[in-house]
Amino acid sequence: MTDQELDRLLRRAMIDSLKSEEESGEDVPEFRASPGHRRRMRAMVSSPLRWLRNRERPMWQRAARAAAVLVLVLATALGGVMALSPTARATMTKWVRVQYDNVVTYIYESGAVKNSPSMKYDIDASALPEGYYAADRQFLAGVMCVTYKNSEGNEFLFECRRIQDGQSSSFGLNEGDEAIEVTVGGKSGVLIRYDKSPTNILVWIDPERDMLFRISGPFDLEQLMKMAENVYIYGKNKF
């Protein structure tokens, strides 16, 4: 018997052994997955390589990152409260940033229901990257999504939606990716800059209208900010 034949026999024997172990009918305590485990497994299934890279990071790195985020959350929350006027404070919409592993989540809290009319938004054509035009507009369940394209088939998305209490936006961040706090026309926002992907995302909120805006495309911060600061209302909408 050659070594290869022996290995084949061993492999077969190992599998048979595992089968009989599994079928032994041994009393095993029931496994009830914790929410954290289920969340991690969902992350693994949706983006296995990103999940693996994050898991391979040393524990101290993950802990340091979580601590840094906690400081940032507190600073953002305190800074936001201090900066707003009493009137604005009463009706403010705020977001709380939390991070678990490599996923940053922004949870929005709407201070009051303002019943302000829904509006249609667009990006001023002068602020669009050269050659881009609005190719498609979708209005679905409180969300307006505009796809801009250019003649080369490149595209980016502009999305706006009404904020509801507890609504959240999550972003997976790998090593080298950044979440940068920014201000868009005096309103707080965040730029998600990916290290290994050409697409970056700018998200900001309008607390007066309880609106969340998001532009995602292969542009740098300057271009994204230019578009964001040139978003305007062009009509009322029922979405």
Partner: protein, 172 residues
């Protein structure tokens, strides 16, 4: 290793395959981890570590016969569970084998039964090498021993298994 993982898991089809592997077999993997560890948190760690290994060795999914795939996964999670057990106990209870009295071997059973006669330390190395396809380096890292020790255990295990087979009348 990484470039290979990237080339294998880059497509949607591969990710769907991984998702379906998870959907179909995660309960059996969880049960295996629970059987060994008897603690939910440790079992979760074992399952997560097992899926890290599955992702690292994803290309093997294409080489394993479908009917054997669940046992490949179970073997991975079993190894991860034993690693956790060893850490929990603060020691590595892998006995060093320095010879075994062949007269103690019982009557001929199935080959799987014969395999169980190998010392744990040998069987574990063989399982990682032969069934899971881990390199000596990976096995050394996982067991906290040198690559030379891995290689020595593997060759001794094969030799011992040949002896067991011979004693039990298998034609080798």
């Amino acid at each position: 290793m990484l470039p290979m993982i990237f080339s294998v898991l880059e497509t949607d089809a591969d990710r769907r395959l991984l998702a379906s592997v998870y959907d179909r077999y995660h309960k059996r993997m969880e049960r295996t981890a629970m059987r060994i560890l008897r603690d939910r948190s440790d079992a979760e760690d074992a399952v997560q570590s097992a899926f890290m290994q599955v992702i690292r060795h994803f290309e093997k999914i294409f080489q394993i016969p479908c009917e054997d795939l669940p046992y490949w996964l179970i073997s991975i999670v079993k190894n991860e569970a034993y690693m956790i057990l060893r850490k929990r106990r603060g020691s590595v209870p892998l006995e060093e084998w320095d010879g075994q009295d062949m007269s103690e071997l019982s009557d001929c059973g199935s080959v799987a039964e014969l395999l169980s006669r190998l010392p744990d330390s040998y069987r574990q190395v063989l399982e990682m090498k032969v069934l899971l396809g881990y390199t000596d380096r990976e096995i050394a890292q996982r067991l906290g021993i040198s690559e030379t020790a891995v290689s020595t255990r593997a060759s001794r295990a094969r030799r011992l298994f040949r002896e067991i087979l011979e004693k039990e009348g298998f034609s080798i």
